[in-house]
Symmetry: C2
Subunit: 389 residues, 2 copies
């Protein structure tokens, strides 16, 4: 059974609860909506019950957006390996360095988690056409789940997105439209076209369920580390749903008694040197980011010049005592090769960026040799092979 | 603990047992060696003990090539999803069609299983340089595990192999040599170079452990189908280790009481129209295949003109009451798109070939609508995107 109850504004602005049994996107105030659960009742859900459950993110179904009796649309997303990266750890003087390897998800990236949850709910709500603006991986994931559900998929990506992202969408039968500009432009065009046609918009945080998929990364970290959470979580940040989702998961786990209240992992948001709106806002003490001009990076997933959930990312980083760091393309590709050649991990440049950010934190004396660190590799190398040419 | 005891000739030719605590490759008669276990003792190993074990193929460690106290080199290989392919099944009139999706392995293919086992043992035996001839995916898997183990990797592939296979090897730090010809030529050159230099050869079936990794696919099918085995297993066959491994697993499972003796799944070996040595030998009633001339296909993994274990594949196909079928490139690419657009599965052409072979068996009235069928998708689409252009 699930303790899923209602939707609520993320600000919160004071608006009343929203009913998840009908289609919902944003709060009337324009902010993202969050799924809420009956967490008091969920205290009777014990973590011992997890042993032997399905090897995907739906093992946490009690706190997932399902109603009783519903089955999720699953392609095997989540429950990804957490590798003890001994060789890279040793080279950095860290005994407890772990890599959460999201490349082992369907469609080769962490985006599968969010879209499994979002498309599951969209299908239950009777959606006939799904639309998404994407920097690449989210489009692939959406197209795969839509195919499985038998729902039409409309995908909007920047014209200069790497070819594999386009081909993979087509393989799943999605309708692909390439637009001038960046993901923000793709989002504007998708929204304009979809409004008149009644498309169901699954843009990041413009529907409440992708974050529910992403939050499972924090549940998994807890379970895989036997409920001793790491000191640091280093996370590449484009739209930021992963960060926001994990922060929400810590809240939930504290309320149901799976994590003691008190210190949480320090969250480090990693961006690209030439597209770092969160980093700039963090450094300026701003609550929200500003649209980054002339955004460019080889890490397609980091090419998000302005995220709708920026204030939620910044809130998580600050409350955790973490930080935000920008990495050059050269450095992220270097560390992509390090993960490959030292650990056998297929990393996207985004994963390389996270490892490089760890180097910066060690150099600055912020990460200590006795700290437990989790670096996220959000996707595999295969769609980014051009950067290795 | 493991019941691993010794190595033995696969023919068997009558040679004495081989000691697995030293490096072993082929039998003195030239045939592959197989790992043997104390199966009488293993009858005390109960399948109930599997619940809650690690989500990779080493969950079957009692019948894997490990000595007590050893840890495997794992990147999360195996325990891949078995999807109930409802939409494609319905279009074919089958209620119980399943796809075993090996694309969710590290390095995107089933080859990770074999190489996890082989490199684990090679590392324990003190190997300093590993060499492999490969049509593509095996090289990627070997390079990844070698990187993790800190062992030098030497890879030999056909010059016209698709670019992603080369780039992925390089990402893991392998030394790549491209040779004129096919995998058989690569094997000859690798062996010549390696002999003088003392390289540890991990060619298919030229060492005894890749097959042990592959056999876990059959254990997983049992566990995932609650020990009711399918009527048909449809399997794309290049080197054939997967087929041979699963057949060996049925033997083992019967002997330890996990599977009743009696009918086993009918094994269908699927090859490419222009590289079908097993199919030709099957049709001719031959015990071994002959080298296929001018082999060509877009499915790199099927471009194996002569397999060292051909007689073992043919034996499994015949003993099972199965068959061997050849599929055209056009048909396999068509069904690769069907798996993508109907089920959201990222399939290699090899997976498409297996689905097309199923169509042929239905058309010929061999597969009945009430049969349970498992089609293997041995890898993901991402390294084969050129075929979709």
């Amino acid at each position: 059974m699930s303790y899923f109850s209602h939707l609520e504004c993320s600000v919160p602005c004071g608006a009343e609860a929203y009913d998840p049994r009908v289609e919902q996107h944003l709060c009337t105030c324009g902010a993202p909506l969050l799924a809420r659960y009956d967490l008091d009742a969920a205290r009777s859900w014990k973590k011992d019950s997890l042993a032997g459950r399905e090897s995907n993110m739906w093992r946490y179904r009690e706190l997932m957006p399902l109603f009783d009796g519903e089955q999720p649309l699953t392609l095997g997303e989540g429950w990804t390996p957490l590798f003890h990266a001994r060789r890279v750890g040793e080279s950095l003087g860290l005994e407890r360095l772990f890599v959460k390897d999201e490349s082992l998800n369907p469609t080769n990236s962490f985006k599968a988690r969010g879209l499994s949850a979002a498309v599951t709910r969209a299908a239950r709500l009777g959606a006939r056409v799904l639309s998404i603006p994407s920097a690449g991986n989210a489009a692939n994931a959406m197209a795969a789940y839509a195919a499985m559900a038998g729902i039409e998929a409309r995908v909007f990506m920047p014209r200069d997105v790497k070819i594999p992202f386009i081909r993979e969408c087509e393989l799943y039968g999605a309708n692909v439209e390439l637009v001038e500009g960046l993901i923000t432009d793709a989002g504007r065009i998708a929204a304009e076209k979809g409004r008149a046609r009644g498309w169901y918009d699954v843009s990041t945080l413009k529907e409440p369920y992708r974050i529910e998929g992403k939050k499972t990364m924090a549940y998994e970290l807890g379970e895989q580390l036997e409920w001793r959470f790491p000191d640091w979580i280093i996370y590449p940040t484009g739209g930021g749903t992963g960060m926001v989702g994990m922060w929400k998961a810590f809240d939930e786990m504290e309320q149901i008694g799976w994590k003691p209240a008190g210190p949480r992992p320090k969250m480090v948001s990693v961006q690209a040197e030439h597209c770092a709106p969160i980093v700039r806002a963090f450094e300026n003490g701003a609550e929200r980011s500003e649209l980054w001009q002339y955004a460019r990076t080889v890490a397609d997933g980091l090419r998000v010049p302005k995220a709708i959930g920026d204030f939620l990312v910044l809130r998580a980083v600050r409350e955790s005592g973490g930080t935000a760091l920008a990495v050059s393309d050269e450095d992220m590709v270097h560390d992509m090769r390090v993960l490959g050649s030292q650990e056998g991990i297929s990393a996207a440049p985004e994963g390389g960026a996270a490892l490089h950010a760890l180097r910066m934190l060690i150099r600055d004396g912020r990460v200590q040799s006795t700290d437990t660190v989790v670096v996220f590799n959000t996707g595999g190398a295969l769609k980014y092979l051009d950067v290795l040419g």
